[in-house]
């Protein structure tokens, strides 16, 4: 009986997720001298990996770095918002929650393009910053690493806020009062009570933000320059422009592997128990 219920979705995931992933791995071992037209020879050659890494390690490191910074920014911005909605908003709680989710429905491409307008050289923001001498007379926001990271932060912020909200919502505020009663000031109360109790949300939120951010290329493409290109841009063009499947597949796996190593390391540090919140 349970197998019948699980079978349809399970098969779908196996055929369209697991099989392609295995096949992608096989592709990464093909002889790179072939082409899509002439076909590839399966050589079991691991050489695609060092080759791809040698060519594109800057983009890989940049992706992980941008994603890490964006994740931290999301946490810094998302925590007050989730906290305010869960514990301070009172009867406006549902309204604010809707306001967090609603931008999802304006296509994320359109919103990213709106950022392009906001950050543009002739825009109000750049004008203000130049006027205040926070930006040089010909300083720019668009086409900088800042713009790309800001775009990533913006796009994945709801993925941070929602799990944080979910864990803070169950939070019993009397615990903080108890902590206050036991001589914990606001800072100690936050560190010793709020933060540990929000940990599952933080873990889920950082993973849900970091993983898609590391693989994203839309923000880098729309808000950046080739000098801010991320690994996603490379994979995308290797598959769709240069048609270099073996390199693209190798890069995909390098990315997956990097994310896996970071995730496992991260979960080790914060304690695997927190993973329960994710799955």
């Amino acid at each position: 009986m349970p197998y019948l219920l699980i079978l349809p979705a399970g098969l779908w995931l196996i055929v369209f997720f697991v099989v392609p992933a295995v096949q992608l791995f096989a592709t990464s071992l093909y002889d790179p001298s072939g082409s899509l037209a002439t076909g590839y020879a399966m050589t079991g050659d691991l050489g695609n990996y060092p080759r791809a890494l040698g060519d594109y390690w800057p983009q890989l490191l940049r992706s992980l770095g941008y994603a890490a910074v964006a994740t931290l920014a999301c946490l810094a911005l998302g925590f007050p918002l989730a906290y305010a909605i869960a514990l301070k908003a009172g009867r406006w709680r549902n309204m604010l929650l809707v306001a967090v989710i609603a931008p999802f429905f304006t296509s994320f491409l359109i919103r990213t393009l709106a950022w392009k307008t906001i950050l543009s050289d002739t825009g109000v923001l750049v004008g203000l910053l130049r006027h205040a001498h926070l930006l040089g007379a010909d300083g720019r926001l668009l086409a900088t690493p800042f713009a790309v990271v800001a775009g990533l932060t913006y796009n994945f912020l709801p993925f941070m806020v929602l799990p944080l909200y979910a864990s803070l919502e169950r939070f019993d505020r009397r615990l903080l009062e108890a902590a206050g009663d036991l001589y914990a000031g606001p800072v100690a109360g936050f560190r010793r009570v709020t933060l540990p109790l929000a940990a599952p949300g933080i873990v889920a939120g950082t993973l849900l933000t970091f993983i898609p951010a590391a693989g994203d290329y839309v923000n880098a493409q729309l808000l950046g320059t080739p000098r801010t290109a991320m690994i996603g841009n490379v994979i995308d063009s290797a598959f769709l422009v240069r048609l270099d499947y073996p390199s693209a597949a190798a890069l995909s796996f390098v990315l997956m592997f990097a994310i896996l190593v970071l995730t496992v390391g991260y979960l080790r540090r914060v304690g695997a128990g927190a993973l329960d919140a994710v799955s």
């Binding site: 392609p20 096949q23 809707v98 429905f105 359109i110 393009l113 002739t122 912020l157 997956m256």
Partner: protein, 263 residues
């Protein structure tokens, strides 16, 4: 002193609202651009108020067709993903069986995989199997990445369901089917609806995976992407704003809907 205390109590709320403003700012810009006639095609400065784009949203060639296609893909993917995912969520909640842990990992993995990797590997599969790219392959791909989110959402709802309610149903002459129909299903329904909404928004908004598997078919995000290189037609902003308003309206309706006494 009183002011200091008030600030201490409310600064978090203030900070939260600032972040919320940051989230909504681009939406405001999109809404503004939807009623703006720019001075030239490639500039986005606010120049002149107009309702032309709202009056003729399909004035931009090919856009409305792309929107319709995206909606069709969204509906179909949502339907399939919701049915498959809900079944799996039931299977994972009510039963303990060999392979349960493996199934949970299978569900978790797509959520932890970057879209480029999913999209490209699926493209490689379709290429190897010589499946022509188009509407069908897009739906297949969308169902694939939506299913996991449906499973997780519905499962969370089912986990909060008191098993004693089912015993009470059985005690009150409800056989297995009746207990499911009258108790489990209505109680799981909010979770299923939420999952379906999530699936639709994921599908409607997807660009990366779609771009790999669309062939010559154009969805709305792909249309926007293409148009972005040439300068975005202002009607795109009309669609973006309209989607936002429709979402708000839907939420308002579900929140205002009077609670029905009977199911």
């Amino acid at each position: 002193m009183r002011l200091g205390r008030w600030l201490a109590d409310h600064w978090v709320l203030g900070a939260g609202l600032v972040v919320l403003a940051y989230l909504l700012l681009p939406v405001a810009v999109v809404a503004g651009l939807s009623v703006n006639r720019a001075s030239s095609r490639l500039s986005y400065d606010f120049h002149e108020f107009t309702l032309d784009w709202w009056a003729h949203p399909c004035g931009s060639p090919g856009m409305c067709a792309a929107v319709v296609r995206s909606v069709q893909i969204g509906f179909l993917s949502t339907l399939v993903a919701t049915v498959l995912g809900t079944l799996m969520a039931f299977g994972l909640t009510r039963h303990r069986f060999a392979g349960r842990g493996a199934t949970s990992i299978l569900v978790f993995l797509p959520m932890a995989t970057p879209e480029v990797v999913m999209g490209s590997s699926l493209l490689a599969l379709f290429g190897a199997a010589r499946v022509p790219l188009g509407f069908a392959t897009i739906v297949i791909a969308h169902v694939m990445f939506c299913v996991s989110f449906v499973v997780v959402t519905v499962r969370a709802r089912l986990a909060g369901l008191d098993p004693q309610l089912l015993e009470a149903a059985a005690d009150l002459y409800a056989g297995p089917w009746q207990a499911f129909r009258r108790v489990t299903l209505p109680l799981a329904l909010p979770g299923i609806v939420a999952a379906a909404l999530l699936a639709f928004s994921l599908s409607f908004d997807d660009f990366i995976v779609t771009n790999f598997n669309a062939g010559t078919t154009t969805t709305f995000p792909m249309y926007v992407w293409g148009a972005a290189q040439r300068g975005i037609p202002p009607q795109v902003n009309v669609i973006g704003t309209a989607m936002f308003l429709i979402a708000l309206l839907l939420v308002a309706l579900t929140m205002l809907r009077p609670r029905r006494a009977r199911f």
